[in-house]
Symmetry: D2
């Protein structure tokens, strides 16, 4: 219900502005008795951390997550108690500077105008609440969600398109993401893409991208009819990420061009009394419920709106101005979104798992 809360039973509420004293989240609904400490969060936060390569913003934040509640160490290491887990990350590198100018501008592609129109007030420092800094908390919450899901549910994620450069579906190598700073899902693409992105960066420009996700190990049965469909929940989760403009499940928009007999995922008798599917156009979800196949989806991200190239805009008094973003920025915001896509999927699936267990007892 709440604007800043995600999930139904595994619920994540985030708070904080880019240049306030701290950002944080509260995770309610955690199963009790799960081992959880700050190192569990840090592992995933470090993946996302800005400043790790020349392709992501040079803001230097240690992004050190503190767990303030919800765990107790009775001697064998901290475990969740069933109480809300509060996580806080201090903002240590919120460079103080003059925000008077930016406070008067509506930057194209940013939330400046629409939020001002909504609230009549906004925190202009570093984008305030609309900053991508908030996504660090999604990654932290995702780390907790992974604990809920257990090791059987495995995530692979990376870029399959950078600007106009596309990795053909049959060339996707899910293991490649770990081997290049762009999380590109192809070793062959990694080098030329870095060169290309260097050029974009030097131009003071930015470029969009498409992130692909695969989740293995989800059992059949998670999700629900009709409005609680697993694909609907995943779509909302992904579209809530900054700069996301599109989501597709399985064959996605490609399915629009297919005939029924080609799109159908045929089944043959499989092991354990379960069907074996011969293809996966459905992306692992049928009728809103997981089928036991891999869940696959793709998310389109627009290019970073903050660029060094001047764009026309207006100020709060409706005067014509030119906007040019100074300072650090990401040439492709989708790179940092990769761990966020994974984390949002983990949160969505943890929630689906608990909801399934509630209704069916399984």
């Amino acid at each position: 219900m709440s604007h800043n809360t995600f999930g139904h039973l595994f619920r994540v509420t985030t708070w904080g502005e880019s240049h306030g004293p701290a950002i944080g989240c509260v995770i309610d609904g955690c199963p009790p008795g799960m081992a959880l400490d700050e190192a569990d969060l840090q592992h995933w936060l470090d993946q996302r951390r800005p400043g790790t390569s020349r392709f992501v913003t040079q803001r230097r934040e240690p992004d050190r997550a503190e767990i303030l509640s919800g765990t107790h160490d009775a001697g064998a290491g901290p475990v969740t108690t069933g109480a809300p887990v509060s996580i806080m990350i201090r903002n240590e590198d919120a460079r103080s500077r003059d925000y008077d100018e930016i406070a008067r501008q509506y930057r194209p592609g940013h939330a400046d105008y629409s939020w001002q129109a909504k609230y009549g007030v906004r925190d202009p420092r570093g984008g305030g609440r609309s900053s991508a800094r908030e996504t660090a908390l999604r990654v932290a919450a995702g780390a907790v969600a992974r604990k809920v899901l257990g090791e059987g549910v495995r995530f692979s994620c990376g870029l399959v398109q950078l600007g106009e450069h596309v990795i053909a579906p049959d060339r996707i190598d899910w293991s490649a993401a770990a081997r290049n700073p762009l999380f590109a899902l192809s070793d062959a693409a990694a080098e030329p893409w870095q060169a290309y992105l260097d050029g974009v960066r030097k131009d003071g420009s930015s470029v969009g991208a498409v992130v692909a996700l695969r989740v293995q190990g989800v059992p059949p049965g998670w999700g629900a009819p009709v409005y609680g469909k697993l694909d609907a929940e995943l779509a909302a989760a992904m579209m809530s990420i900054n700069a996301a403009k599109g989501v597709e499940i399985g064959a996605g928009f490609g399915a629009a061009a297919l005939r029924g007999e080609d799109n159908a995922d045929e089944m043959v008798p499989g092991e354990g009394g379960r069907p074996r599917f011969l293809s996966n156009h459905a992306g692992g979800i049928l009728g809103g419920v997981s089928s036991g196949q891999d869940i696959t989806l793709r998310v389109a991200f627009k290019p970073t709106s903050s660029i060094l190239i001047a764009r026309r805009s207006v100020d709060v008094d409706n005067n014509a101005i030119e906007v040019r973003t100074r300072g650090r920025h990401d040439p492709c915001v989708a790179i940092r979104a990769v761990p966020v896509v994974e984390a949002m999927a983990a949160c969505t699936l943890a929630d689906a798992m608990l909801r399934h267990r509630a209704q069916t007892g399984r």
Copy 2:
């Protein structure tokens, strides 16, 4: 929260199976004092009604919606009272036949296997709860949502792609939908597309499509950060429609190929102290909040899974079988989805309007 409820303040709960005695919905949270009678619903239901052309299923249902509660006529015609509006549509053409065979089959592309895996039981008659028949209730609820929104918010919707046939963005004519049975957004495409779809139908096959939606008249300020983003809510709404496989807002997946300076929607001073945008890659939503521009989105639908062409599958005992759907079916389910896409957008926006009013008093 509930699996079968949509919306937060304008809340729609639907119930009913394809071949049960009736289907229905309960709409809670309606503002009081709105004129509302059954003719208001019927107008939109008739648009969606099966049996109106050779391109949609030949099941003949009058789809007559009854309003059972929530309105009162004090003399000047029925108006909403603020109490829940209950709408019921009787199932009059649920042909009785033998479902024993279908009850044992897992049809490819259908919810049969995943729902059986989830619940251990399912109603096989006409797809039960997973039938697209449920979408009639979305259309009825959408009719109520339009009343909440008022006439200033206007919807245009139709097909921009049918199988591999695409209407170029600069050839889209939003008014064309009303002039052909496919809701195609181009007069030029209407004829050849009908011929093409006739061929698909005669082959016993089906084909996917892409539906485009434009909403005019939404004021700036609806929607919310961070998880309550208007685009996230719209994405969930669209992805909850049967056979939907992808959603994109504004430039969508196309934005992934753009550079920042090309994607930026520049602003110049406009009338009434508001900026005028020079383009609309954002699709009318910035930072999750409406900007006052047209809201534009596109939804990809897979081809109808029920086809006359045999596909391999398994039965409930994991035996290999062949599945071939007999009886009526739609060669392109997206055609009937057009009024549903509109309706879901209307419900989402009505909800956003009420939530905005709650927080800001505007």
Copy 3:
């Protein structure tokens, strides 16, 4: 969230006005595979049915509940499918008469003025949405909740106070309710109370009462900190019943007069590794979570507001009037509330059970 919905995972949404065509409810979140037919509902509805004695309103309704969705009979009788269960009761005895006068009056103790102030419109026929007729749906939903809980959870309920007549705590006989038409929890009180209530009725007056409830068989662990306390959920459930004015758990208001050492429920080693409690001032709930003891609570009901004795009031134009209720009415609305109290407790507990299972897997 919704005004007309109760529960989180076992969710009941009711709709309908006293004199509309029907009333109904939709229950979402039911576990699948539970045997459920209309006779299961009727058993409990018949308990509550008006017209069964001279102490409850003489309106004659068969209150026949139809199940319109959510169950499927694969041969061994209908079972729940996990889809929403829609229940409808037609209004067959909504006597048509002239509501013009009542539409202009604000009856003391009724929702007339406050609802008019809220909505600017109201359905005056038989109280519309505010009629106690809505409680039939709570009883129907409670019948479904009992199925979720299973036979181990057992309810006892009845009157412990009628007007100024009180049954002393040590004289309460839970089995007595079944033996008198007032559900009085004492055989000794039954006769004199009937004589007393006859007098009240003949006076054209009404009287308040206190209903006591005991639930046996709830395992330790249901409920939750801090705002989801089981006692908080039960209090809301009870206070949502028409005419309820107070709720107390265990020793309740009596606990205010106690000292800590007297209020403490001491424990001694019990069977199965569990403590045995030596008293139950807590009413079976500690820290918002069930302790395994009997859950006990009491609900105070005000006297029926519809009486034959004239009271001063105003009309919609703020003119002074006298109001005297004509027609059928209950001399003590709490009698009909007894099955409703039971039903609301069953719904609350079924919800708590599912929520507990979601978080803990038990």
Copy 4:
């Protein structure tokens, strides 16, 4: 939905354990543009602060609330931005000591056993999540809620019963609470009650109490049928406070003894076209909706469970033990609950105000 969240549109989520590094809350849904700084919170926190008299626990905490997000100072002092307001209070006086013994005990009247049964793990330090320390956050949230409500809504609150000592309804003086450390609603009672409570404290015992609340200035129309009744929401709010065992609205349990003609609140023509009520047995709520009269309610609190007098209990291995609470404790927990009752009412009413505005636009 969430166990640790209160409210629908004005939503408060609290986190933290008594002896962890901090406790905090996140308030989502705040209207934008409200002046809000830490002094606003501190004013109310100081009222509740432990250590202010010999009648409340001697734990010395400055209870200094920090606002970490959701406000922005554009020059004229901080105002809310519509983003979530995060409030944190550090635990500075969490005396370190040996919790090994208490970790093995089930203290009578505490959540120890029931939470252990639920979660299989618990934080025993100072009661962990079940500590009344959490109520400081309710007071902080209440301070924000008061800002939402504006100065027209005024709260009066205090004790009307301490142990067996009762202030007669016609002797209640709402202004007296400010003049004595017990918040007693009678100057005459203040002195003897302090002497009485000194005796209780010296005995190592504790005693229960009843808190009365009056809210003036609530306009007619807040609240909703049927499950969203304002009295149901208030009842849940009050019953969620530690040690609360009963809630009554208006005449409450006293209404059970009344006849209809005595309980009816008669109306005569009043000013501004509104009725004037001649009595207020209803407690300002009719049919779940505020009537414009004062809202009045009473909450019963049990005696503090932590007492110096030994009580029988069992340990985690089901061995018989004696429990005697050492260290600081409140002889009457209801005294500290007074500001909490006010705060919970403020939060509930702020939520009702926003919900009313959403549905009706007023």
